[in-house]
Symmetry: C2
Subunit: 199 residues, 2 copies
């Protein structure tokens, strides 16, 4: 089966529609998708950005919010702007990394739905605890594993790996031959590429 | 007939495939397209950028060139990286602005083909003179009109208008109701939007 990696950052706006679309688009092409949460922060800091470029460059931010609104309208996805933006995504990313397979996928989608569909604060432990409980998981146990030193180090390594791969934003679709497709609008192209590698 | 504006910058890489696709995509949707050359420089300077962001942020530049390569491969468009990048696009933009209708469209497409298809220096008067002559135009006369004070002022006004519209990069498709669609990858969406305004 063809395979690809879906790299996403919970603070990233365009990762929201991508996370909602990725699984079905991959299934339609028989591409096995590995979901890889990471932090964009270190990559942005390397560019000298201490905030989201959508805040640093206000015209870019205005464009992005309108563009995202049109995208969500077309997909019939609710959109609420979280405040503050960007949300601190550290705990959500650590939690996602402790979960495997479908649990990670489902948790991640629910984080995006809470953050950008309902405008809930995903930096708050309480928000994530409710999502975990709804998945039948024990929030206390999950948080303990998420904040274990080994898991923290693993997330750092994932972010370093993202930079090595040439990832400069989120979401990104990365194929087995190392091609990087950046953006919600490149999902189909990246998955088509992955599917074409099957032979 | 539905209408839209195609805003483009001759130094912009993604404007190349967009310029090659725009006319046929617009025709297929019965959208009348006005081609509006402008300069991104003033908009970039307002962001504090004195060079292309693809040069300022090397990882972003590496991604863009590979992305563009894939896009051009898929469209069967030749791609040669002009040196230096970005090319100074001032004269080409001034010339394009003096031409009307199909002449502007054809000149603009030929500038992109020379610059990114053949790697020719479009900042050189000689390169543009050859393109103008091939269109049956008198290069000397066109350059004189291009460098007339009124035309220079007109180009400045076009770039100021672009910023007012919320344009933050090139190419952009702008619809009659003021929606801005940024990027070669938003052409179809923008033209669909324009077509839907017909009623």
């Amino acid at each position: 089966m063809a395979a690809a990696e879906f790299w996403y950052e919970f603070a990233s706006t365009y990762s929201y529609p991508a996370a909602m679309r990725a699984a079905s688009l991959a299934k339609a092409r028989a591409v096995e998708l590995t979901w890889r949460p990471f932090l964009l922060g270190p990559i942005f800091v390397a560019n000298g950005w201490r905030d989201s470029p959508f805040n640093i460059y206000p015209a870019k931010g205005r464009y992005m919010w309108r563009d995202l609104e049109r995208i969500c309208d077309a997909l019939d996805l609710p959109l609420r702007r979280p405040d503050p933006f960007p949300q601190n995504s550290l705990l959500a990313a650590r939690v996602a990394l402790t979960l495997d397979g479908e649990e990670r996928v489902e948790f991640s989608r629910r984080v995006y739905a809470a953050e950008f569909g309902e405008g809930l604060p995903i930096a708050d432990r309480a928000t994530l605890a409710i999502l975990l409980a709804k998945l039948g998981l024990d929030p206390g146990g999950v948080f303990a594993r998420a904040e274990d030193g080994a898991n923290k180090a693993r997330l750092k390594a994932e972010s370093a790996r993202a930079a090595e791969l040439g990832i400069i934003g989120a979401p990104c679709l990365v194929t087995e031959d190392g091609e990087v497709f950046w953006g919600n609008d490149r999902l189909e192209q990246g998955l088509d590429w992955a599917a074409s590698q099957r032979a």
